[in-house]
């Protein structure tokens, strides 16, 4: 399963790219329209990029009236990402989306670093969202927490059907000449290759803690990167930053992933799910034994 990462593709502006995905995830929709932050909103860094888009979106009313019907015409599975500033926002957004057959999955953006975060906790939001919709709910979490397994468990217990991991992490870039922050908001969300080990660790911990379906993302550029997320526990993989440089990435990564999986002896990519854990578990049980050679000496 290959998806786009929320906010990294506009299916209406690039329908050919979207059609190569197994599902299209919208940019996060908020209760009211948002222009987003002042420019400059993007900056490249050595191993990634920063963005401070600030959830620019038409707001739920215009989204339901104008955007969603046009997206439905594309005839691809639709995931709608929602974000808000209070528990009620999420509940309302989910209630509105619940009525719409075009929507397959709702992704709760609980982790955007570019807006003031929701004050209430993950538990409150997921609980409220759960009460408002029967649609599958994916909780999108940040890796910028002391214990991602604990957050993932909280989301699972509150009724999330799956997890999306990871969102960006706060970063800063300074202008080469002036040392002023490149982004108008100063800091922004850090994405791209630098996130790969962080995303892998978050998926690994959340899979072990919850066993829920997981959309893994963070710096995926190749089939190898996708396979690593799946081995760590992801059941699907989302492409973000890579799409900006390579809109053909969905098809390419899918082909590479199938080939890589076979190279590693898995018939399908999904057969590799959690593979890294199997090896770890056998190791951990090893540790309780005395090393064979040591006892020989």
């Amino acid at each position: 399963m290959i998806l786009n990462a929320s906010g990294c593709l506009d299916a209406l502006a690039a329908p050919d790219v979207a059609r190569r995905l197994d599902a299209f995830v919208t940019k996060t929709v908020t209760p009211l329209p948002r222009e987003g932050n002042a420019p400059v909103r993007i900056a490249e860094t050595d191993a990634g990029m920063l963005n401070s888009i600030g959830l620019a979106n038409p707001g739920i009313d215009r989204f339901l009236a104008a955007t969603l019907p046009r997206l439905a015409e594309l005839a691809i599975r639709l995931w709608v990402s929602v974000g808000g500033f209070a528990t009620d926002d999420y509940a309302d957004l989910c209630r509105r989306l619940d009525e719409r057959d075009e929507v397959q999955v709702i992704e709760l953006n609980l982790s955007c670093p570019n807006v003031e975060g929701p004050e209430e906790t993950v538990v409150d939001i997921v609980t409220a969202a759960r009460a408002s919709t029967g649609k599958p709910l994916f909780a999108k979490l940040s890796a910028a927490v002391p214990d991602v397994a604990a957050t993932a468990t909280a989301a699972a217990e509150a009724g999330a059907d799956g997890l999306s991991l990871v969102n960006t992490i706060r970063g800063l870039a300074l202008d080469e000449r002036t040392l002023a922050p490149t982004l108008a908001t100063a800091t922004g969300g850090y994405s791209g290759p630098a996130l790969r080990p962080i995303a892998l660790a978050a998926v690994f911990a959340a899979y072990r803690a919850t066993g829920l379906p997981i959309v893994g993302m963070g710096g995926v550029e190749t089939g190898r990167h996708a396979l690593e997320l799946i081995a760590a526990g992801a059941s699907a993989c989302a492409l973000g930053t890579v799409l900006f440089a390579d809109p053909r990435a969905p098809g390419r990564v899918r082909t590479e992933l199938a080939a890589e999986s076979r190279t590693h002896g898995f018939e399908t990519p999904l057969a590799a799910r959690g593979a890294s854990h199997t090896i770890v578990s056998s190791l951990l049980s090893d540790k309780t034994k005395k090393p064979a050679i040591a006892s020989e000496m």
Binding site: G7, C8, L9, A13, P39, I42, E44, A56, A180, F244
Partner: protein
């Protein structure tokens, strides 16, 4: 929107700029004013570049090496490949009666291709120094002014103006020629509407320059461009 790894044919100095010649592959050169995203080797994100010239089987870009990405583009060696996406955005509208090209600095980049399409109309080009003005040789029928003279000091009226250059120049041109077609710039991560990074304020709203532009007329709507931060 096509994407292809193109072969670098040549990289020639033009004053402080570089003229980068790429084998065209199967890419369409598009309309004057449209742009391509060029991937600098070793960088994550591609950089937007207007098409400068479109001789047979080539795509040619004029590059001002102002930062890491443009320096890497300018340093590409013949024989290497460079991944290019495009053409992107909306070009200039060519159905005008009395065209005049008004540009400044690296803003001359789209003019050689534009001039050809318009039948080599007069052009008025401003540069910081005579060294920079070397780029004027790429534009037919060009008159050059150097700092401290500004193009708007000598710009005739009653022309259909096509402008490209630094923002203060664009604003000054628009004040004197409200119908001018202006080529705007903004940092872009994708160039095809995916990232929302290139937002500028159009008609009172922040909108994507790569989708709505980069060529915009001022008259269409009362709009203001959010001022980009002046560094220090």
């Amino acid at each position: 929107m096509q994407r292809e790894a193109l072969r670098v044919l040549a990289s020639e100095p033009v004053g402080p700029y570089r003229l980068l010649r790429l084998a065209r592959g199967r890419l369409d050169p598009g309309m004057p004013g449209q742009f391509f995203m060029l991937s600098p080797p070793g960088h994550l994100l591609p950089r937007p570049m207007s098409l400068c010239l479109a001789p047979p089987r080539e795509l040619v870009f004029l590059i001002d090496p102002v930062g890491k990405g443009t320096r890497a583009l300018a340093e590409a060696e013949p024989g290497e490949t460079m991944t290019v996406l495009g053409p992107l955005g909306n070009g200039y509208c060519l159905r005008v009666e009395k065209p005049l090209l008004v540009g400044g600095g690296i803003g001359v980049a789209p003019f050689p291709y534009l001039s050809h399409a318009l039948g080599e109309p007069p052009a008025l080009l401003g540069f910081r120094t005579a060294h920079h003005a070397a780029a004027a040789a790429l534009v037919p029928n060009a008159e050059v002014v150097l700092d401290p003279t500004l193009v708007t000091d000598v710009m005739p009226s009653d022309y259909d103006v096509f402008a490209c250059g630094p923002e203060p120049m664009l604003w000054a041109v628009a004040r004197r020629a409200p119908d001018a077609q202006l080529a705007w710039e903004a940092p872009m991560a994708c160039g095809f509407g995916a990232c929302y990074g290139c937002a500028v304020e159009i008609g009172g709203e922040l909108r994507r320059l790569c989708v709505e532009g980069p060529i915009l007329e001022l008259k269409a709507s009362r709009w203001r461009k959010v001022r980009r931060r002046e560094a220090a």
